[in-house]
Symmetry: C2
Subunit: 232 residues, 2 copies
DNA sequence: GTCTTTTTTCATCAGGTGGTGAAATGGACG
DNA sequence: CGTCCATTTCACCACCTGATGAAAAAAGAC
């Protein structure tokens, strides 16, 4: 869509090198990320990606192979960073509050890294979260993809919660997590729906407002589900 | 994908009639609904729809015009039924519990119609909910579409909640609703992710399990968000 | 039956799709 | 210089895309 400014290069036209090669690879990933996030996998053509990256179509295939492999590369690039940040956050909370962990604290240590990265990571990360939210709701292959990349962190969350509330049933924890995930992903994808719904009072880009509410919301939800099951 | 059984017809080949015409129209909508739900708008071709409906491609354009208009027709077909059912449910709760409404009760009257319809409405409705969840997470035009079709019910929910908790800030209600929507849509789209995540202990198709937890989860979330704001 | 209107099929279009193989480019190294 | 080699471009393919206009088939009116 946007003009195809072929990226600042030292020399004039077409002056490749090993450094430039890797640079272009990242440029392609950036363009693909933004486009896939906005229009979905099938809504984007390799030509669009190439044009926006200021690159020949064949170059995409040279670096990534098929279109689907390009998509996977986009997905993978940030997934590991994400997992690392979340595990680190949960480790830190774990250590700092050993023996005095709360459900809300655990949940915060699980979600907050994502909010922080989205706030501080620039447009690329924003697009990425939109992409993940979209994959999360894709029935055909989304579940498999999410499972492949994000299961470890989730299992870590469930296990920690199990420590905090030993009486809780596993099923309640899994279902509560599913509810949490839906809320979190929708908040991170900043669809703008809350803007029009609230007639401008709320803004989906206001992640500080999310932070101020989401942890408490989810924690209370978890507690309620656990309590209801324990009573019954 | 599936074989193109051209639909049982009284005579042999190609014997249309006014009744058959409307019948085919619905058949096309059914096929389009299922395919759009599974693969998204751009992931489906008019030819696939035609093949699955056992119909010529041109017939789709004859009845619906452009591809996007077909999509809108799919979306619209059940939206009104849905809105009617939800408003009726909320009206009924309103009348039955006038003066003694609870947050959880209101939320249940808002969500339960969807669960019931999904359980009793057959495969078509299941596909439809997947479709809505997908649109809900589509950044390019999803927010606009959701707003256009579903805003009234949501405003009704927020207003009713405002009656139950007059001290609540509007922003808290809107944000809590956003969280609720994310959980609800993900649950209704039955992605199968919870199945693999829980290693078979939970099943995303088990809407009874959702019913047993989602209302309490969301209600507790709302209360927590409201309470936190009131204290601060 | 004939005439009219709606529904369905057929043949086709212009343009776009993902993908490929061969050639060109330019740096690295001797 | 000449020779490698990774990178980048170019030209192209077979196939599919959404869409259309004209013909055919069927239904309905009389």
């Amino acid at each position: 869509m946007t003009a195809a400014k072929p990226r600042a290069r030292s020399g004039g036209r077409g002056r490749p090198s090993k450094a430039k090669g890797l640079d272009l690879k990242e440029t392609i990933l950036d363009s693909a990320e933004g486009l896939f996030a906005r229009h979905g996998f099938y809504g984007v053509t390799t030509r669009q990606v190439a044009t926006e990256a200021g690159v020949d179509t064949a170059l995409i295939h040279y670096y990534f192979g098929a279109k689907r492999e390009l998509f996977d590369a986009v997905f993978l690039r940030r997934a590991e960073i994400l997992n690392q940040a979340r595990l680190a956050s949960m480790d830190a909370y774990d250590k700092a509050h050993a023996g005095a962990m709360t459900v809300e604290g655990v949940i915060e240590s699980f979600i907050d890294p994502l909010l922080r990265i989205s706030q501080e990571g620039g447009q690329g990360w924003k697009s990425y979260f939109v992409l993940v939210a979209q994959v999360n709701n894709t029935p055909a292959w989304g579940g498999e993809t999410m499972t492949r990349f994000f299961d470890p962190v989730v299992h870590r969350l469930v296990e920690t919660l199990k420590l905090v509330r030993p009486e809780a049933d596993h099923r309640d924890l899994y279902w509560s997590y599913q509810f949490l995930t839906g809320s979190m992903m929708l908040a991170l994808s900043e669809t703008g729906r809350i803007d029009s719904l609230s007639k401008g009072v709320c803004h989906s880009s206001d992640l500080e407002a999310v932070r101020a509410r989401l942890f408490a919301y989810c924690a209370a939800g978890f507690e309620a589900v656990i309590a209801r099951a324990t009573v019954a």
